[in-house]
Amino acid sequence: MRKTPYLPELDPDIQVRKSICTICDPNSQCGLDLYIKDGQIVKVEGDKNQPYGQGTLCVKGAALRQYVYNEDRVKTPLKRTGPRGSGQYTPITWEEAYEEIATKLGVYKDAGTPEQVLFFSGYAKFFRPWLKRLAHSYGTPNYTSESSSCAQAMNLSQALVFGTSGGPHVGGGLECLLVWSNNPFASNPGGARGINNMVKKGVKLIVVDPRNTPSALKADIHLQVRPGTDGALALAMGHVIIAENLCDMDYVAKYTHGFEEYKTYVQEFTPERGEELTGVPAQKIIEAARMFATAKASGIQPSAAPVVHNTNGVQNYRAIFSLLGLTGNFDVPGGQTVNPPSFFHLPGQFPTRQDEFMQSRPYEEMAPIIGANLFPVWTEIITDEGQAMYLPEQIRTANPYPIKAVVAFGMNHRMWSDSKAMAAALEQLDFFVDVELFMTDTAKLADIILPACSSVERSEFRCWPNGYVVYTTPAIPPLYESRNDIDIICQMATYIAPEDTLLGSGIEASLDWLLQPSGLTVEQMKPHTGGMFIPNPQPAPIGKYLENGFNTPSGKIEFYSEVLKKHGIDPLPVYKAPLHSQVPTPEVVKEYPMILNTGSRLPMFIHTRTYRLAWSASLRKAPAIDIHPEDGAALGLSQGDLVKVVSPMDEVRGEVNLTFLAQKGVVHLYHGYREGDANSLIPWDYRDPISGYPGYKGYICRLERVEEG
């Protein structure tokens, strides 16, 4: 244990260098002050000048040193020498690795079937425009990412209603915030501070969440919905708003499409029916609907995935977003406004030519993208990537064509439902490359493993919604032989897509090309190692869609989706109970009486990325199973008892954690544990038919005590 703090004022050999933390990638990225002595990071703090983190860090970022200096780091490029999964590899040089990749991938290109190669990105996200370009320059349409089970279905739902995605216009006169299953207190400190600030300013807070999260406990109204029934709740709120004449009828008449059909449909969703379907008391549904509809301006803070991790996820979210159309709150100050993306999916108030950069070959010149056969709505709306949840099936069935090789940058097979089948599918591949920081269970299935470095060892570009940008400088050189993912992509391009000279020109030249319309350059940003505000922010005008029309087939906000209609799907945001639940399958539920709700965020974890960090992992025993104390009592279970969670698919073990955070009748299980893999409990086809998202948040299970010994 260290006694003397590492501070430059006490030790002149200590330097402070800036970087950003990207352990949790989406929408965060806190600035770092890294205290460095003899080339080693000896202490991590937040950079108080950086607007996102404001000098603070979350529990994951505070453990950053154990992430960077982790014994599981992949040190050199590796070539498999033993059976898949054995972990037997021999070190090779980068050049040998690239030559091997060029030879193997050259086969499909030469045969005229480059689509048989799939590219995939897990976390982080900063390199994605480059990876997508590499995939298309090589010749495959199949660029995919972990967004296949993250935020894209939420974006898809919003796009079906509005033709775009929006967020609450905080600071623009927002009076009521409807937080739909989002708990930034575990996932996103900036978002958590935002909620605290709004509460302080008197913004009314409605939180929909099955659990008693910090967000829910702060709410004026907490709607403790049963997992997977969100759509019914939103439709019942819509019913109340219409029945009590709280709609903004001028707005509805001018800017929406399909109101009469919607109105007819929600007639059956009385508050009492809503209570029956969702478990939320009718009176609370009425109060929430009134609060949301009568506030001068209301917004909805969605979450990336909880609502869409259900078998009716997209339609449920459409019902939720429809409330904004009903109450005249989209594209108005203080309501839901659009801050369009600048770089990657992130808004930054500047234009780029990212789309042109990424789509180096038009889709029309390539084979159909993965998932197009099953999820055509996704393929039409989510144009930037394929639906990778279909990958194991396509590998297994070769339908509509075989996938023979995968080049992944951070892949975790436990992200897929029926995760064991995904691992088996990867073993079936002819060739599998995984770029990774750590020797993971999925990496052990790869033929070639390439070592990536962490954010503090590389340069990357990042922007924030408030017009702040950074092009980081490595605080320490890449450890071992690891490299920046973008360098790996650009170098790989010279082997597998040599005609793409822009990609071959490297990170800085290609970033300058991408940023050209913004006027920003790498040279201009480099001296500002902690980041800078862009000189000429161009905030998106509010009211643009009301004035010029929405990017939907009708040009209006669609209660009635013309896109879904075209694809033979119910155009209204219809409610269907989770595929396996009390209503449609009472006979199955008899054997599995509890709802399985997996993957809700915990502060110390972001998926599986911090499991191997002893400091943060010490805060939660792995894997713990959260249940309501009354369920524990009914089952005769005490704190710490060893139990099995049994589903029709599989069973996993863990320790009982009795907590009122949990909802009665629900088993809350965090995901991705090697010893208790929640996703192995869920069948591959238990999914939303529109998005292909697995029903991670609303399946069925039972608990059984495990007798010790």
Partner: protein, 163 residues
């Protein structure tokens, strides 16, 4: 003048950033049997049908009475005049646990070598004009450094108020 670290229970959500920042500051080697100096205890209470989930954010209070100090047979426990921090010299500690018996809150912890460990208020950081590591890291501004005499007063607006 004595200082203390205060936790606003209305703001703390038990994320554990302070616990880990303390481990980073002190290079705590958990695998070698070392233990952290700050920890959390969850409390779930129902009152009039309303649930509250709060956290005790626990570390040495550096209390003015420091009952642990006089009972130490080897003089391992001392007090820093400038900050009021109660300190332990592990080289002198014999692991007799008398300090733990004397402490009203059972704050002293013992590592696998039997040496007592506890929060030192980051007193050297304070002397250098910095905040304790836990206060600096707290993403919600729940932890603040205050004058010990403010113990019974209402908390001042904390330093994150501009957020």
């Amino acid at each position: 003048m004595g200082k203390k670290i205060r936790c606003d229970r209305d703001l703390c959500v038990g994320c554990g950033a302070c616990v880990v920042a303390c481990m980073d500051e002190k290079d705590v080697d958990l695998a070698a049997g070392e233990v952290g100096n700050r920890w959390l205890e969850k409390m779930e209470q129902w009152e009039n049908g309303v649930l509250s989930i709060t956290y005790r954010n626990i570390a040495c209070h550096h209390c003015k009475s420091y009952p642990c100090l006089p009972v130490c047979p080897t003089g391992a426990i001392t007090r820093d005049e400038e900050t009021g921090a109660v300190l332990v010299n592990q080289e002198l500690c014999i692991g007799c646990r008398k300090c733990d018996e004397a402490c009203h809150h059972h704050i002293p912890k013992f590592n696998s070598q039997g040496k007592m460990t506890k929060c030192d208020l980051c007193y050297l950081r304070l002397q250098a004009g910095r905040e304790p590591a836990c206060v600096k890291v707290c993403p919600l501004g729940a932890l603040t450094l205050e004058e010990a005499s403010d113990h019974h007063k209402k908390p001042k607006d904390h330093h994150h108020k501009e957020r």
